[in-house]
């Protein structure tokens, strides 16, 4: 039926190749265009070849403070990654048995993936606005001087921004854990328990090494989804913008290939992170000998 010698097979291969071209073609176009000479524009033909726009980007020419936005995004990405791994592995372990509220938590997880991002962003923004109002009210009625003098807002990258991004990355983490534990062979664990290992020791020495490759996957989702997240963060980042937010602003104002250079750099970062993760994943798999 699915033999490789009939026409359907070649049509499918052709179709798939076309799809891959569709996926990657545009990105490679802008990578190519970012290496133009100083006279280059937003479209073809290529006006010379140089690294001029990257140097321009490095100097920060004409573009807002990209360097610090970049740094903010990386730091936030790492924090989100760590929290996503720790919280979803812990929750994944809990979900192996039914517990009080496990169904509600599961449906909340799925709901969080499909709730429109702008609605969530608005909700978190409203919540922090109320927290601000409440803080200022308490500050003035109790006469707390630091609140009255210096408190501006609780909205920020590491409060509301972090939380809003976690509602996007954590569900992926938990769903990966579900997939892992659905295929998990419990006999190793039982053997360890029979030999008198404590739950913590069983987890550390048996379960953790077995699920380690999948944890790399969760970490990859955690970092990359945070690093590129835009819709949920859009209303709740406070004063310091992350890279995707700056990028969106630039799409309407910048008309030089510098935006492609920036695109090349961020894509390079994403690709590097993916390559490291895949490499690490394969390494752990091989080490386990499975």
């Amino acid at each position: 039926m699915f033999s490789k010698k009939n026409n359907t097979y070649y049509i499918c291969v052709f179709f798939f190749s076309l799809f891959v071209l569709f996926l990657y073609g545009p990105t490679f176009t802008i990578i190519l265009l970012s290496f133009q000479g100083p006279d280059g524009g937003l479209t073809f033909p290529l006006n010379g070849i140089s690294t001029y726009w990257f140097e321009e980007l490095w100097r920060g020419g004409s573009v807002v403070d990209i360097g610090s936005a970049f740094k903010r995004s990386i730091i936030l990405g790492i924090i989100v990654m760590i929290l996503t791994v720790v919280l979803s592995v812990a929750a994944g372990l809990a979900f192996r048995k039914k517990f009080w509220g496990s169904n509600v938590l599961f449906f909340t997880t799925v709901a969080s993936l499909i709730v429109p991002s702008i609605v969530l962003s608005l909700g978190v923004a409203l919540q922090f606005r109320l927290i601000d109002d409440l803080t200022k009210w308490i500050g003035s009625s109790l006469d707390i001087s630091w609140v009255n003098d210096s408190f501006q807002t609780s909205l920020g990258m590491y409060s509301s921004g972090l939380g809003a991004q976690l509602t996007w990355t954590l569900p992926f983490g938990l769903l990966i854990m579900f997939a892992v534990f659905n295929r998990f062979d419990k006999s190793y664990e039982e053997a360890a328990r029979d030999l008198g290992a404590t739950p913590w020791k069983t987890f550390k020495e048996i379960v953790l090494p077995l699920i380690a490759p999948s944890i790399i996957g969760i970490a990859l989702f955690g970092f990359t989804l945070s690093y590129d997240e835009l819709a949920r963060s859009s209303q709740v980042m406070g004063s310091g913008n992350t890279l995707p937010l700056e990028l969106r602003g630039l799409t309407t104002t910048v008309t030089t290939p510098i935006i492609y250079a920036l695109g090349t750099v961020t894509t390079f970062v994403s690709f590097t992170v993916i390559a490291i993760s895949v490499g690490f994943y394969l390494f752990l798999k091989r080490k386990k000998g499975i």
Binding site: F2, P116, S234
Partner: protein
Amino acid sequence: MLPYIINNSIFNMPNLFKIKPSVGLLSLPYSFVFIFFFFIPLVLTFVISFWDYNEYSIIPDLILENYRYIFENCFSFENGMCVTFKTYLSTFMFCLITWFFTLIIGFFVAYFLAFYVNSLTWQIALFLLCTIPFWTSNVIRMISWIPLLGRNGLVNDFFLSTGLTSTPQEWLLYSGFSVVLAFVHLYTLFMIVPIFNSMMRIDKSIIEAAYDSGANGFQILWNIIIPLCKPGIVIGSIFVITVVMGDFITIGIMGGQQIPSIGKIIYVEMSYLQLPAAAANAVILLFLTLLIIWIMTKMIDIRKEL
């Protein structure tokens, strides 16, 4: 002596300390994030949609003004359709067209991966190839269409040089077309993953049995594979439809900030600090989204599919 007594009495308290710490407690930090950043914000959105506001503050109240304003002039069709209905209609159209293309493309990509790629290594490698763009920046993937579709872009160059058209085509970029193209580009993966997952669960012997009984390729596809992929198709459809329903970024960038959407209304109202009005719009959007999901999940049990 006293500490001993206290200690002893505490440890002798019946049952209170005999409850074993449950593994379920490990889900607490995870739950906390969703209570604080998901549940409470959504409840607040609902509550604040009934509040009043002025230029600089929001005022606790219980009014329907925000909702009334959204549907103002919507039920007298003298001047044609009202802005709200037009916006919803346009968003629904984007949903429908995007859903159609992502479903067709996603289905056949998954079909190829599941049935025509025999080695597991290749399957994983090609699957990864489809997934990698999901981990890169959406904004970059959108602007990467500019050199292709712009006024002086490659497609127009091709049209002009082959004489297909005599003037550059303006509808290629910053139009409904480019919005749909970007949606399909960004979100086909949401279809591929669940459909591929469903296909991998299909027992190959069923297909062989059908083939041996004389079914042709199309019959097998239509009568066996598609019905067995229904859960994957439904899950993928839910993802694609909800993401398009609430979108304001793709429609903004690829529509040249000219095409309205529900998400954009909320976004604009927020930037003018009309928060209760934005909240009312968000409640309606959320309600419609949930309604669509509810209808679709009537068809399957999601939890069984993981």
